[in-house]
Symmetry: C3
Subunit: 155 residues, 3 copies
């Protein structure tokens, strides 16, 4: 039987595991942030969520949209759209035997750019803060995809 | 050459593979549920989807939103937002050599909580059914993330 | 220490890595397409994105929704909802020792169907082009899930 814990002895894979866990935990924070804004501003999407604030017609006034809540939801969706490719491509890239320092540079840039993207989106900071951080994360993922396809293409 | 099928001999990994496949299949059911509601209530998002029900202006009345369809779509998006971190963190956690019974407890709790979340969302059950099932799944993922970062952090 | 680059010597895994990278890169193109449509039609979701086109009240008129932009966003979300299960189930399936030609058939069908789905969605082509390509991708993923659960179920 193979000893799977050996996989975690690989330094590139361990680095990927650490950065992937950090950025996924950050993404999970967006759910908590949405819930927090919904509670504090009393803005809900489901009738059953606002029964504590009133019954019947009285409850319906809480079924609305709010700029702050929608902003967090857009940031969350943007995270999903960008972190899913990073996870998939990054995992395969980590297994393709890249140089340790190059790999860590990719992971750090991506995680840093996505954290800055969230800050830019929620503050909000003026453009091009959010645009630039988006494109850095985007470019990092494409760079890993390019390296994977260049070395290991098998169709 | 490494024999990859050995990886599947690892019991924790096999358990992860089983639970991950089950919860992803459940998530895929949400697409079918959305399609089913769209067909039965004739509520569509694209003009080309409703040409069988009428042409021109007559077709446009089917381009609308509906509470039931939007509810399924919200449940589907919530699934995505929570199952993606579970997949990423759970995969890495499975490779980090956890105790078999602890790992299976995590996987079972997550899958059970997410299935109950869908039932609560679509019935809908009164709160805090949905809220609690959300937080159980959330907590399970954070618990795996914590264990990963505690043991294997490499930045 | 295990040599991780050996994993990439496995032909099924290499094929999965190639197809997964291609379809994730295609999905990333959707972000660029959304940005392109937003720029050319001047349709934005955030006030800070349209300050270059005017200040104050003048900028607010760019905060609107547009059919083309919403169409790309729906296609993008549909990609996410289908590519995430493919990635998770496909990765585990690749590790479960399938027949090489069967595995490649699965991957090719999925990637082809999803590319055709995007073309059908954005052109848009009349139904059932988009519906059929959706169900081919859906069926491929379920077929891999079935094979996984049949051979390797461990609950």
């Amino acid at each position: 039987m193979v000893d799977l814990t050996q996989i975690m002895d690989d330094e590139v894979f361990m680095a990927f595991a650490s950065y992937a866990t950090i950025i996924l935990s950050k993404m999970m924070l967006m759910s908590a942030t949405t819930a927090f804004y919904r509670m504090t501003t009393k803005v809900f999407a489901n009738p059953e969520d606002c029964v504590t604030f009133g019954k019947g017609e009285n409850a319906k006034k809480y079924l609305r949209t709010d700029d702050r809540v929608e902003r967090v939801r857009r940031a969350h969706l943007n995270d999903l759209e960008n972190i899913v490719p990073f996870l998939g491509i990054g995992l395969l890239y980590s297994l393709s035997g890249p140089d340790l320092s190059t790999a860590i540079l990719h992971f750090r840039l991506f995680v840093g750019a996505r954290i800055y993207h969230t800050i830019s989106y929620l503050t909000p900071l003026p453009q091009p803060n959010r645009g630039l951080s988006f494109f850095i994360g985007y470019g990092v993922t494409l760079s890993m995809a390019y390296r994977l396809l260049k070395n290991k293409l098998y169709l």
